[in-house]
Amino acid sequence: MTDARLRHLLSVSDLCAESATGLLDAAEAFLEVSRRPVRKVPTLRGKTVINCFFEASTRTRTSFELAGKRLSADVVNVSASSSSTTKGETLRDTVKTLDAMHADVIVVRHGASGAPAYVAERTRASVVNAGDGTHEHPTQALLDAFTIRRTKGRIAGLKVAILGDIAHSRVARSNALLLPMLGAEVCVAGPRTLLPHDSAALGVRSYDRVEPALEGADVVMMLRIQRERQGVSLLPSLREYARQFGLSAQRLERAAPDAIVMHPGPMNRGVEIADDVADGPRSVVLAQVEAGVAVRMAVLYQCSQDPDERES
């Protein structure tokens, strides 16, 4: 069995098409749990999940917390500053401490790329990357794939355009790995200042204007523009960005007539996405949020096998 167990989920590259599809299938069953009057199953009773968030996050942390609780795991949230200098404790010591408490799964959100991999090397627990710096956010990509599959009925053969700050986006990186693995044709687009210098590095096509990327797209995935990118010679202004690169109803007309619009949230309305598009009939933003809990239930389930049961 290659797809039923996951030692860690640090990057989409820890998955293959088969194991990713297995996670999406499991999430279907867990979605149904969330829609019941009693939203709880005993699957992970007696297991301990520690949500270790070194970076502020409301939606991802809540999503992981609900996922653990709906599986009956004991869930603890730890919030800490990313910087070891202000925190007074090194990440090494934090990991050792959590490990000594016999966590089964440690969910890590951290501002430094590679921090979950660092944690994984130093604990017996399974580690799930809940977003690390500008590296990856694999559960976001899984919930995006899940949402696409439910709304479009398939992933293979779809044309997906990811638009915005590609260079700094962990969501873009994870999706650029996962969606092609599942058969989609992915391209990215954004101003050149927000694309990787080596545009081929992510393995997908890239454009410096959004229009060619939108042409005939089945899925339009918007990324959040961080306000702090303004004025450091990356963006002249948010106003300029909205006019040149934002997703307006007019620009969206270039996409396929039945295209869906996604956003990992939180949205900057009027910047990367116009209000009427965000709330329009093509928007599946809230379906993504619902899918987030189901997908994370599937990930926690597959990561919380007893170490003895794990294949090495």
Partner: protein, 437 residues
């Protein structure tokens, strides 16, 4: 135990390309100087209380090495390394001379710090320490240091190592002023505006790992600018740890016009690429960062043809506090003195790199750049030589390094080429020889 007055190294390969010497010969060292070099020169001497005879058949006797670029962390960060442990590492690596960078705490920008380092080294013994003083006060890139006095106190060059002199006017004045005192100006070539937030080389690997990129062009623009400035004011200029193919191209062009421009390269930039960072290995976080295969090829070709004059270790010891952490939090740097020769011996015979060029790049050329009398294997010379067993396998083991630090990706990797002995200042500062066989 009293030192024998006479040491005979019998039957080794005596190799000093500057003397066009490559012969199986005996070397006799008496009271710190070479008194005989030649076949059978030591044959009449039998071991006794005052004569030590060592059979070094199969070993090479080379002019001792000279490092242009090391960080020994004293004063100020002795938990990482100090002058005693750092010079111990140098001796273990075959070095008779080590030039140390000024980024200590406090910065070496005054006579007091320069003298303290030299006094400490004299107490310790071992290889000779040569301070490189800062170009600007506090390495802040603004006011020139008192280079005349620093020269008198023993500084052999100036550098704001780790910090690039960004202001072109300050750099011009530094080149002009240092020339008066015949101090080489050593630049850490990095346009800091282009590398804000950088964690590794900017390329496909950094894009995938989500780590901030340090683009090649940040080195190239500074090297190009400085070559123009040095040419304009007619001063010597030395580039520290060259890492890019672009910088190599600029240097080659400058040398082809006869400009007094020199450069060094580190073992890690000759051997590793940015792919080594995959997995977020902080031991491979260095500044300038590990580049790509094309840079590696350009650096090796430049070493082979002399465009890059010298090999420098950029020995940068760190403790686990600085390295066992998130990649973004880790300090850049790799220790390098002890394994340097063994790491590079493997390159001999590849891409035009000869043993002659390797020895030249590790000894004679760096000595000339720093204004140090180059070690020579000739009668009458001070004993500054390194005995190498080129076939011996050894492992830079966690438990057996002279340095306090362990931050190298080559830790526990088996290497070929073992330093058996180092003579510095006429003294035997590393002795793994045993006695006559």
């Amino acid at each position: 135990m009293t030192e024998p007055e006479l040491l005979v190294l019998r039957g080794g390969r005596v190799f000093d390309p500057a003397l066009e010497l490559d012969a199986i010969a005996d070397v006799v060292i008496e009271r710190g100087r070479l008194t005989h070099v030649g076949a059978g020169a030591g044959s009449g001497l039998a071991p006794s209380a005052r004569v030590r005879v060592v059979d070094v058949t199969g070993h090479w006797l080379l002019p001792a090495f000279v490092d242009l670029h090391a960080h020994l962390r004293e004063p100020g960060q002795e938990y990482k390394e100090d002058i005693a442990s750092g010079l111990g590492a140098a001796a273990a690596g075959g070095y008779a001379h080590v030039c140390v960078m000024p980024n200590t705490r406090p910065v070496n920008d005054t006579r007091a710090v320069t003298e303290l380092m030299r006094a400490r080294a004299a107490e310790v013994g071992g290889p000779t320490l040569h301070p490189i003083a800062a170009i600007t006060v506090g390495q802040r890139g603004q006011d020139l240091t008192e280079m005349g006095e620093l020269r008198e106190a023993g500084a052999v060059g100036v550098s704001d190592d780790g910090v690039c002199v960004m202001n072109a006017q300050v750099m011009r004045r530094a080149l002009e002023y240092a020339k008066t005192f015949d101090l080489v100006v050593i630049q850490h070539a990095e346009d800091h505006d282009l590398t804000a937030g950088a964690q590794m080389h900017e390329g496909a690997v950094s894009a995938r790992l989500g780590l901030g990129g340090w683009p090649r062009v940040a080195e190239d623009v500074i090297v190009a600018r400085d070559v123009l400035l040095a040419e304009y004011v007619g001063a010597r200029y030395h580039v520290a740890h060259v890492s890019t193919l672009g910088a190599v191209r600029i240097l080659r062009e400058a040398k082809s016009r006869g400009l007094p421009v020199t450069a060094e390269v580190t073992p890690h930039h000759l051997l590793l690429t940015d792919a080594a960072v995959i997995g977020y290995d902080t031991a491979c976080k260095v500044n300038p960062p590990l580049r790509e295969a094309a840079d590696l090829a350009a650096l090796r070709a430049a070493l082979a043809d002399g465009t890059i004059d010298a090999i420098a270790t950029d020995h940068a010891p760190h403790s686990s506090l600085e390295k066992d952490c998130e990649f973004a939090e880790a300090s850049p740097g790799m220790m390098g003195l002890e394994p340097c020769f063994a790491l590079l011996l493997g390159l001999v015979g590849q891409e035009g790199i000869t043993l002659t060029r390797l020895v030249d790049a590790m000894s004679t050329r760096p000595a000339r750049i720093a204004g140090i009398e180059p070690p020579r294997l000739k009668v009458g010379a001070l004993a500054e030589l390194t005995v190498v067993d080129p076939a011996a396998l050894w492992t830079p083991a966690h438990s057996a390094l002279a340095s306090k630090a362990r931050n190298t990706p080559f830790l526990e990797h088996e290497l070929r080429g073992r330093i058996r002995a180092t003579f510095a200042r006429g003294q035997l500062v590393l002795d793994r020889l045993g006695s006559a066989g």
